[in-house]
């Protein structure tokens, strides 16, 4: 009863003259370094794409699996500016995997100087396409005045710049003519891999808006466990580089990457450690 009265009194008294804390960081520290893993499930993307399975090399062949979990990792440095606002930047690396097509149209010029060509379809085992994607995000971090910088919930807003490049490798194996069933020779297969995945041109660039909800819980005087959720809105994607006659990895595929990147961001869970100093 007495304690209830004490609480009541504290509530009443402090309510009338309460004011937030000054710009004091966690134990006076105002700079934080975060290291996070981003874990995401491309459910929305798969839903849009009929749950296409991705080829994964297994022994000498390729096994087709559904795309369940993708990862990225990022580092960021943030400095508290005021009781509500902090500024920082983030660098991240993301592996964007996506399903390769199940068949490719092969165009073979019959005579040079003319536009006569032979066309046939190549089928085979295609491994998933792997794009290494890097991004950089200048960002602001916001918290309510009552919170201590670094502790608990904060909101991050930033404009990101990303660039992805297709990993150079032979994606196709066991290639054959779909009509005749004849296997491609090694030379033809090499030619196919080189022609259809033009690494010098297959680059993906974009800009995006990022919002991250982060919760940091201190586990020592300078280390936090953090977790949160990230949402990303792609603004511009560089699809023009892919509009090539010769390569099959063109607009549709870039759009495909673009969609995947966006879809992933909706479902991303961040987990990591933070160091405050």
């Amino acid at each position: 009863m007495r304690k209830n009265k004490l609480i009541l009194a504290l509530c009443i008294l402090s309510f009338t003259s309460s004011y937030g804390q000054k710009n004091n960081g966690y134990l006076g520290k105002k700079t934080i370094f975060d290291f996070n893993f981003g874990i995401y499930n491309p459910f929305l993307f798969n839903l849009q794409n009929d749950f296409r399975k991705m080829g994964v090399a297994k022994g000498s062949g390729v096994e087709y699996k559904s795309d369940k979990i993708d990862l990225n990792y990022n580092f960021s440095l943030t400095r508290s500016l005021s009781s509500k606002v902090s500024i920082g930047f983030e660098f991240g690396i993301q592996k964007l995997d996506f399903a390769n097509q199940g068949a490719y149209e092969q165009y073979v010029l019959l005579d040079s100087g003319s536009f006569n060509y032979d066309q046939y379809t190549i089928v085979g085992d295609f491994e998933k396409l792997e794009m290494q994607y890097h991004y950089f995000i200048p960002k602001f971090e916001f918290k309510s005045r009552s919170r201590i910088f670094g502790v608990g919930l904060s909101h991050q807003l930033g404009m990101g710049f990303g660039r992805g490049k297709l990993k150079e490798k032979n994606y196709g194996s066991n290639l054959r003519n779909a009509d005749t069933g004849e296997m491609l020779t090694q030379a033809e297969a090499d030619q196919f891999n080189a022609r259809y995945y033009d690494y010098s041109r297959n680059e993906y660039k974009n800009m995006f808006l990022m919002y991250t909800l982060t919760i940091r819980n201190p586990i020592s005087k300078s280390i936090f466990f953090n977790y949160g959720f990230r949402y990303k809105l792609n603004l511009f994607g560089g699809a023009t580089d892919y509009q090539s006659f010769e390569t099959q990895l063109e607009t549709d595929d870039v759009g495909y990457i673009f969609r995947k990147d966006r879809a992933n961001s909706f479902l991303q869970l961040n987990l990591g450690l933070s160091f405050i100093f």
Partner: protein
């Protein structure tokens, strides 16, 4: 063994007699001697130990609930600041209990007795073997034998394990409309049993059969003051004030308590049934002693007076000013020179005046239809006085007390606060008050009127017209109004009107109030933009006001960690330890002189710290109870003592409330499972909202009785020792 115990009892009593208080300079009851382990033990450890020893005859699932319930409830009480040990009252109670338990060695070792400073008339035993007796109960008793029977009754509750039985009954009884009645019946059976079994110890100790039944009368009339003395209608009158009799009731207020009251929903049977059952049981006992007192009447009356003096303090802390003033009136007959009673009287009048000025005094007084007994006369008067009258009467009383005790600092402080209250009361205008006393003014008016009437009478009978006669009649009526007795208060400050000290003090406060009013008016004239700027500046000023504090007394924080089921007491206690450690560690890092008074360090700091904590908790309780007024601390001199010991006048109180509640809604959960991407929005929402934390701090200047700084921070974050560290760090840094 018997001889050793008797010697010990004698030694205890001798030491108590040696240190007897002089009631003329009474000091509040305080704990004394070594601190008992009941006060230093950690509750969660007590529970673990009891669980391991299978102390309770309950199913394992219920055992934990029971143990948590009883241990936390009792430990909360032990640390509430109202329980004392080793003091004269507790030692006396223990001595009486030892007499009762002379043949019960095992039981004697198990039981501990403590006193609760409360005006409730109560005693109770606990599962742990602690028997509490309130000062309110002892204040009401007529003799030692009555105390012995109350203790015997409580010891029987303990030996029969009624606490455990009642818990078991409660958890096993089916929920029904008749549950309250059933529980009431069960509880009454326990009471009858304790009444009957209590007779055995009482009889064994040699107490008189004749005194036993009067214990029930004590219980029946315990809601009345400890004495029934007529409160004379001229009690407050003196040469400077005359309160007309019309302000007092013109009848007696009947005492309505009956032995045969409806007890269908009570935990205890009514007095009639208890008396009947006990009388029947008494027939089974043949050999009766003739002791009314084993330790002597003087000793009992001394102890009872200690409790009665203490009850005044408790009344004032609880803003029960009518009870306090009546008790003072009773005790002044025996102790007319007691400075303690003078101080308390001044304090009670101040409190009454402050409540009256706020218009809240009637809430603190019983309604006329609820008044009973002799105290009703005083209560009626206090209700009848309007705001101006109440303030003036209080000022008069305090001024008179000050005149009698010109060198007393506490009374001086109360007087100053009274002058301030008077100055702050808008409707009080000193100009309207007469420089003459009521009696002088009355005599003067009467003589002038007599002369005028006589003079006029000489001429009126001859020449006056009908209309002049009517006018004359009206003018006579207006003269009657001038000496209307309800205006008595206008003459009650006659000496103060020309007293320099009063006028200086009054003028100073008036000036301060005028300055504040001016500031308020200027603020009203500001544009919204200017007001915003002004508010910001004020906020900064307030922040700076609470800075530069390098030493303080920090009352152990109160911590409550809630889950959906209620308070998680074990977690709360562990967080409290973390919180206390955090304060000490961070204060050391900042080179701040912070003394934490709390359970965590009682075993090292001892009884002195325990008493200091009790004083501070009582002070805070007083602030809470009287939040609408500017309280003058009842334990002012003790607060000054604490200030000098710790070399600081800053007291910090803090509360941490944490609530963890994962609000999972079945509908949304099903949607999240079926269409699992929804969970990616739903899960963060649950996690973010799961933890709510509220940190509250108050910094109080105990010598001025002012709030220096307050802060209330609510945030959605989980709680652990690190987050507590961060909050404490920020708080101490802010005030440093």
């Amino acid at each position: 063994m018997k001889i050793t115990r008797s010697l010990f009892g004698v030694l205890l009593l001798t030491s108590a007699l040696y240190g007897q208080q002089d009631f003329n300079s009474f000091k509040n009851l305080r704990a004394s001697g070594d601190i008992p382990s009941d006060f230093t033990a950690r509750t969660f450890r007590q529970i673990d130990a009891d669980m391991q020893n299978n102390e309770v005859d309950l199913k394992a699932s219920k055992e934990k609930i029971f143990l948590e319930g009883v241990h936390y409830a009792i430990n909360d009480l032990l640390h509430s600041g109202v329980v004392i040990y080793g003091d004269e009252v507790t030692m006396y109670v223990t001595s009486v209990a030892e007499k009762l338990l002379a043949k019960e060695e095992v039981l004697q070792k198990k039981l501990r007795f403590y006193t609760i400073k409360s005006n409730e008339t109560n005693a109770f035993s606990t599962y742990q073997g602690i028997i509490f007796v309130t000062t309110g109960l002892i204040s009401q008793l007529s003799n030692e034998a009555e105390l012995a029977y109350v203790l015997s009754h409580e010891i029987a509750h303990y030996t029969e394990e009624h606490v455990v039985e009642t818990f078991d009954y409660k958890v096993n009884s089916k929920r029904s409309k008749d549950q309250i009645q059933a529980l009431s019946k069960f509880s009454k059976e326990n009471e009858f049993e304790a009444d009957k079994l209590g007779i055995r110890l009482y009889n064994q100790a040699g107490y008189s059969k004749d005194q036993l039944m009067s214990t029930f009368d004590v219980l029946l009339y315990s809601y009345l003051p400890f004495e029934e003395l007529e409160y004379p209608k001229n009690h407050l009158n003196n040469s400077l004030i005359t309160i007309p009799e019309g302000f007092y009731p013109n009848r007696k207020f009947e005492i309505t308590a009956t032995e045969d009251a409806d007890d269908s929903k009570s935990s205890h049977p009514n007095i009639k049934k208890r008396k009947e059952a006990v009388e029947k049981e008494l027939e089974n006992y043949k050999d009766w002693g003739n002791h009314v007192y084993i330790f002597g009447k003087d000793k009992f009356e001394y102890i009872r007076n200690l409790c009665r003096f203490e009850s005044i303090r408790t009344d004032i802390v609880d803003a029960e000013f009518d009870d306090a003033l009546y008790s003072i009136f009773v005790l002044e007959k025996q102790f007319p020179k007691s400075i303690y009673l003078q101080r308390m009287k001044a304090k009670a009048w101040l409190g009454y005046a402050q409540y009256a000025a706020k218009g809240n005094i009637k809430k603190k007084l019983p309604a006329v239809k609820e008044m009973e007994g002799e105290i009703a006369s005083l209560q009626y008067l206090l209700r009848e006085l309007n705001k101006n009258q109440a303030l003036v009467v209080s000022m008069r009383m305090i001024e008179d007390i000050k005149k009698q005790n010109p060198d007393d600092k506490v009374i001086q402080g109360i007087w100053e606060r009274m002058v301030k209250t008077l100055a702050a009361f808008e409707k009080f205008d000193l100009e309207k008050y007469s420089g003459k006393t009521y009696e002088v003014a009355y005599q003067e008016i009467m003589s002038v009127r007599k002369d005028t009437v006589q003079t006029k009478a000489d001429t009126s009978t001859v020449n006056l017209s009908k209309y002049d006669k009517i006018k004359k009649q009206n003018s006579t009526s207006s003269e009657t109004v001038i000496i209307d007795s309800s205006q008595f208060y206008l003459y009650a400050l006659s000496d103060l009107k020309s007293q320099k000290n009063f006028l200086d003090q009054y003028g100073k406060y008036k000036e301060e109030i005028a300055q504040k009013e001016k500031e308020r008016e200027e603020y009203q004239k500001l544009s919204p933009k200017q007001r915003k700027k002004f508010d910001k500046r004020k906020e900064k000023e307030r922040e700076q006001e609470g800075q530069g504090i390098n030493s303080m007394v920090y009352l152990e924080p109160l911590v409550f960690s809630f889950t959906k089921k209620g308070v998680d007491r074990v977690k709360s206690e562990k967080l409290q330890i973390d919180y206390t450690n955090s304060i000490l560690n961070i204060a050391a890092d900042f080179n701040m002189n912070v003394s934490v008074l709390g359970r965590s360090n009682l075993d090292t700091k001892g009884t002195e710290a325990f008493n200091q904590r009790s004083v501070l908790m009582s002070y805070f309780s007083e602030l809470v109870e009287n939040e609408d007024i500017e309280v003058f601390p009842t334990d002012y001199d003790e607060l000054l003592e604490i200030k000098s010991i710790y070399n600081t006048d800053k007291l910090v109180l803090s509360v941490l409330n944490h609530e963890r509640n994962y609000d999972v809604r079945p509908g949304l959960l099903i949607v999240s499972i079926i269409f699992y991407p929804v969970s990616f929005a739903y899960v963060p929402a649950i996690l973010v909202n799961a933890n709510k934390v509220e940190f509250s701090y108050l910094v109080i200047d105990i010598s001025k009785g002012e709030l220096v700084k307050s802060e209330n921070i609510t945030s959605k974050e989980s709680i652990n020792k690190h987050t507590i560290n961060a909050r404490v760090y920020n708080f101490l840094k802010q005030i440093k």
